[in-house]
Amino acid sequence: MSTPAFEGVPLPEIQIFPERLLMASTTEVLLNKLYAVKNVRQINIQGEGLPAVIKAGPGTGGPVNHPERRKIKVRGEDIELKIQVGRVFVEIADIDFVPQALKDIEEVCKEVLPFSFTLEVGRYNKFKPTTTDYNKGLVK
């Protein structure tokens, strides 16, 4: 979602694991509400890939037109959602802020998600560029 510079230390992440895969509309509301939580530094999302075109079989090359693959607006910015979201990782600016952030995020999830979910604190994503990122030219 956003790529702030590396902090020097791995910061904690709160993983939101919903019982169901989220629709694009729910994802949009959830992300906007999560960004409003204090001390949220960045949010990463993970889920099932939604291809734009069919890549196998007799229908190869045809459009998939999946309704959940569409643009959503997060913090006023248009983002092309290419996955059906299954997990949300909310990075918190400092470990001391985690207990309060957990409470706030739980409130947001209870409000937005009409089904159960679990919250977990840990570090789930890489926190500094990897060799592959250099190879791919993603790091300047």
Binding site: P18, E19, R20, L21, L22, M23, T26, E48, G49, L50, P51, I54, K55, A56, G57, P58, G59, G62, V64, N65, H66, P67, Q84, G86, P114, F115
Partner: protein, 260 residues
């Protein structure tokens, strides 16, 4: 030759999934019919031919008598599709781990007990049936109409079947990257908008409402930690362990296998 008195036991166990498995496998049990999808719609979903068109053939009809003499041919009554020389075509079902009414392995066992002229293959989340074209259409209709099919948790997918082990979406539908079927909120039912290989259909084919959670759990053939654990069924465990032991030993040193 004396006729052997033998009654197939089909599947061990007395727990609910074991009983349901046995029911599916028992060809004398008529399975519940939950819906009636028109044959033309089934043909459209399969995507092998245009409804109403002729069946393509790969050999001349058997009635022409061009086949060489063969005792097996004399013994086995050919299927309708074989008689006419139809092509081999397929249908493939994907079953969600979230309480789909049947699972691929049980599908294989059920198919072998109920149908003939069939070639079936089991994979982790899907089960393919290959048959003569007109026969596969009949079987596909029977399976789609029957209780082994839930419109939300069973998918008809020829390729890119991924989704059986993925969480359901907000509408309770199994994930499909190609979105072959969708939830129609206005009608409260599921409809297919693409055929089993993702080619768009002219107009959606409605397949009906998904079954309620309670019904799915009563009809389940799954042993699950959050349902009936397989370890709760002593007889199933014993049978599975026996098969596992025998197939291991028989591959290693079969002469050493001693059983009562």
């Amino acid at each position: 030759m004396a006729k052997t008195k033998y009654k197939a036991q089909l599947y061990p166990g007395n727990t609910l999934p074991a009983k349901n498995r046995r029911r599916f496998m028992d060809s004398s049990v008529k399975l519940e019919k939950l819906r009636d999808i028109p044959m033309d719609d089934v043909v459209k979903i399969l995507g092998h031919r245009v409804p109403g068109s002729d069946y393509a053939t790969i050999h001349a009809p058997l009635a022409e008598g061009n086949e060489p003499d063969c005792p097996i041919r004399a013994l086995v009554e050919p299927m309708e599709g074989a008689k006419k020389g139809d092509r081999i075509r397929y249908v493939q079902f994907t079953d969600s781990v979230y309480w789909a009414p049947i699972v691929p392995y049980v599908r294989a066992q059920m198919y072998m007990c109920r149908y003939r002229g069939i070639d079936t293959g089991t994979l982790s989340g899907r089960q393919i049936i290959e048959m003569r074209e007109r026969d596969v259409e009949k079987v596909a209709k029977e399976l789609i109409d029957g209780e082994t099919f839930d419109t939300a948790r069973t998918g008809i997918r020829g390729a890119t079947v991924h989704g059986h082990a993925v969480r359901l979406d907000e509408n309770g539908m199994m994930f499909d990257a190609w979105q072959r079927f969708r939830w129609n909120a206005k009608k409260g039912e599921v409809e297919y908008v693409k055929d089993q290989v993702g080619v768009p259909l002219d107009k959606p084919v409605a397949v009906g409402k998904p079954m309620p959670e309670k019904w799915l759990k009563e009809h389940t053939t799954m042993f699950r930690a959050d349902g009936v654990d397989m370890r709760e069924d002593e007889e199933v465990m014993r049978q599975n362990l026996r098969i596992h032991t025998l197939r291991t030993k028989c591959g290693f040193k079969p002469f050493d296998v001693k059983e009562d």
